[in-house]
Symmetry: C2
Subunit: 206 residues, 2 copies
Amino acid sequence: MVNINTLFSQFEPALMEEIIANGVIKTIPAGEILMRTGQFIKSTMLVLEGSIKIFRENEDGGEFLMYYLQPGEACALSIICAAKSEASQIMAKTVEETTVLMVPLGMIDKWMLDYKSWYHFVLSTYRDRFDELLTLIDQIAFRNMDERLEFYLKRHAKINNTNTIALSHQQIAEELNSSREVISRLLKKMEQRNMVILYRNAIELI
Amino acid sequence: MVNINTLFSQFEPALMEEIIANGVIKTIPAGEILMRTGQFIKSTMLVLEGSIKIFRENEDGGEFLMYYLQPGEACALSIICAAKSEASQIMAKTVEETTVLMVPLGMIDKWMLDYKSWYHFVLSTYRDRFDELLTLIDQIAFRNMDERLEFYLKRHAKINNTNTIALSHQQIAEELNSSREVISRLLKKMEQRNMVILYRNAIELI
DNA sequence: GAGATTTGGTGACTTGTGTTACATTAAAAT
DNA sequence: ATTTTAATGTAACACAAGTCACCAAATCTC
């Protein structure tokens, strides 16, 4: 069982009680789509365990990575859309079995006024996602694929707290909106420069 | 004199009074830098007249366009940047003579709790900028330069409410992080397809 | 174990776009 | 009016990255 109090220790006790009273804890298997482009958002969620990938789908079904939601984080877009009851522009999918706390839309507005810690949490969530998008724009606007790949691998390693990235070249290519051959080629070059060791379905950073 | 009441008609009277009491109206000449990468922000601003360009500077001084702030809009980033001690990666600059209403940062938090219309305004500002960044990511991740140029011209025309875009090829190239020759080439092709008419320092959309 | 599928490696080619170099024309400055 | 500067046109080339074709090895399925 996840300890919500530890994960969201910044919340004041009264807010925590309300969250527990109004929220629904749900465990979702890996690879499930949580939000589809154009879909209306009925509730927001706080991630308790696992991780959620936020991405944009291209014409060929490639899942262009925007960022990951980790435990202790919330979906910024759902909070914003909640206020306006508008359709989402992005897709969300669990990358592993994930436990979330679903919070009804009505509560979000209410808590903003009632709890300073919630207000700061929401603003900080929004700020962090904004920053993440700025970094992404930086990458795709100014960096070549070799730099983007390196950045991607390092970030992946950091998030999963390991030096071994368990992904196929094909999966990486899709998340970077590139092609398998290009990624294979660049990875081989990185291996020759002793930056990585390549295995089947795995890449070790050194 | 600009009519603040018309521009921000959604604000409740009490809020409007506070805005007028606490805000400072300032007119800034064209081409002035309002926010520099890494700068600390002391106040946020509501645009009353003119327009402000939000962009990212690349190594060569090119001003990669993110979006424009128009009358009736506020700078979402100023709130975001203020709370973060780390360097903001964006810059803001007036594109024409611009009148803004400067609001001390302390007021922003306060009004969020006191005035529902302010709360909705700020959240809606966030949401709109987020949307704008998503559209930008879409463009640079999935579109070729010809499509991006077309999108850029149409948006520019729409914002300025005219079919004639008064920009040099060089300026356009910088905002799209491309080069002058490439833009000239693509514009010529568009002219041959009867999509535009090219003048010196101006492009007419047809 | 045989065949099918997934994953990765690689060479040849194509395309989009950035670069270099220089010419031409319009506008501004003198 | 002449000179200077800024804006635009264009050809030739370079390079990153996408595509095609095919192969080899690992893994899964029956």
